[in-house]
Subunit: 401 residues, 2 copies
Amino acid sequence: MVALEVIKEIAISSPSKIVMLVIDGLGGLPEPKLGKTELEIASTPHLDRLAQEGVCGLTTPVSPGITSGSGPGHLALFGYDPLKFTIGRGVLEALGVDFELKDTDIAARGNFCTVDDEGIITDRRAGRISTETCRQLSELLGLIKLENIQLFVLPVKEHRFLLVLRGNELSSEVSDTDPQRTGVAPNMAMAINPEAKYTAHLVNQFVDAAIEILTRHYPANMILLRGFSKLPHFPSMTEIFKLKPAAIVDYPMYRGLAKLIGMEVLVTGSSIKEKLATLTEHFTKYDFFYIHIKKTDSAGEDGNFKEKVRLIEEIDAFLPILINLKPDVIVVTGDHSTPAVLKGHSWHPVPILIHSQWCRSDEVKEFSERSCVLGGLGRLLAVEVMPVAMANALKLTKFGA
Amino acid sequence: MVALEVIKEIAISSPSKIVMLVIDGLGGLPEPKLGKTELEIASTPHLDRLAQEGVCGLTTPVSPGITSGSGPGHLALFGYDPLKFTIGRGVLEALGVDFELKDTDIAARGNFCTVDDEGIITDRRAGRISTETCRQLSELLGLIKLENIQLFVLPVKEHRFLLVLRGNELSSEVSDTDPQRTGVAPNMAMAINPEAKYTAHLVNQFVDAAIEILTRHYPANMILLRGFSKLPHFPSMTEIFKLKPAAIVDYPMYRGLAKLIGMEVLVTGSSIKEKLATLTEHFTKYDFFYIHIKKTDSAGEDGNFKEKVRLIEEIDAFLPILINLKPDVIVVTGDHSTPAVLKGHSWHPVPILIHSQWCRSDEVKEFSERSCVLGGLGRLLAVEVMPVAMANALKLTKFGA
């Protein structure tokens, strides 16, 4: 993998256009009775045509065997080494609820949990309280006052919430109060370095106040905090790749991620049809488009093989809209695999196709996990995809003389 | 490749079991008349079945083109980057003769050699004296007395011996006395840093005493020492992978290596039959088993193509014992290639198969060098094998959210 500094030196701006279609959780596993994966079962004439004309392969999101979260999986596809460019849990949660973090804010991921009379954690998720209960309790915690601090408590889903502290001289170098197991008491927040003492003190004050409020709200009678973090500063895609990038994405976490690396986030709907309409509308204004389809991952997470197949077929049916815009480079892949049979993200490499006039086509005739094994791209780290896409758009000059 | 620190954070303990069968020197080259490799000629119905049901590929022990020793080859397979986790030559020699090194011991690899009347080296191996001569001479050198030092001289094989110094404040930062060529005199041992002055002085005292003893033992009238080293401290497999690992291995060097990374070394025999009996006996007690078969490598080193074929067939014949235990993950590979036609280790990538319920099978129908080229694992660094095996055992949680 080549360092971003190198890419930065050889990248040039040009009128050519790249469209990267990220089908979340694209990779799958064979359904035992059918013997084929979601992508293998799905009828995908347009993806197959792109695969046949283009060059295929399999991407490894982080490293072989490693199951990637959506954050690292996407950062890698955008060219950022996910082992180097990490985002704190609190910040990710903030991106996920579309909270506009300021540079000096401290964000933490919170759990409502259950403790017994001795203060020992008996359930780290408070029996997965409803999102509505979470909303009500978050509102109560949001009323807690800390001197010189503005605080925000936002409900996420079920037992999860986001805590943001806004003020002066706050540090994210604070240890988790969440011990990540039951049978023990929550930890006190500790300063990891001396500058964080003030913040740790505020966090503990917040927890004390929360205990008083929550004592009447069993099973959600306590909170656990982890992943204290500040908004990281990543170089923008414009800085590195000399691109004018746009994101066509509806889910908050991905919108936040796209903003973090300097993409313009366009207003769009959740369906592929709406997203391709947005692409058509803005096609002349940008030279890199990231289109994100979330529902394939959700179907995989739900173990709904049929629905994932249906969604892939739906995407395929609308692809001519994208193809007819004639972008110079089309990339289709996923940020990780989410096989319906595993009901979750997995470590399996993800099919990828790159279509361009200059891609050096291979023998792959259809877009599937098994056929991509024999593709001309071979096995590619996801972080290597952007340079290959840029090269196919003739946006990278020579390295060395 | 992902850092061990990352693996450590995402690894979880679970009841699932991994068996890694390492067929030493597995990879081969075609015998010119037959046009096929050892593994391709061998009749291996059980390996072929595992390959067909599993996912195949080729591992690169260290880096393309690099011929790996057994130490680095094995460390890589256990997940330890062999370019980072290095073991000094002296320590390797100690592991090889089953010498129990203490943390403060200094070990060095020794050669009996021949010098002429001017003290110039004429043969670095003293005409490869017999192992019996080596034993007698080692015994003599073992009688040398150094103040406050306990010393051990152990015969290894032919001209090779092991020197261990035991005492206080010894340092391994001592330069080799072996210039690794003839036509020059042996070097004095030098302290690489000031703390090693005492040790370097002791080494030179030892060499002087040895010269006096060996003057009557031409051609073994001098010694050369290299690879002064202390037992390294590697994080254990339990620490990193949360495994309870057992090694079923009879050769001393591999036993020592296994101990070095915290494996329990089980008593076993040298045949595959005896090793699989040991596996069966202990199967419930551990969740990771490393089984080592040495003789395939020895046959390769001897240039005995037929014997290597026979040994592979013998392993295959006993495989049902392993398969019937139904481990969640079976890994079969080698630590490096040892083609009989090259009579030694080689740089060629090594066939690997990983068999599990979740492996995403490929089109490979038989276990061989050529068919593995088209496998779903593609080309894998050996150090990446453990994470993939762990993933297939569902022992790795997600990286990032």
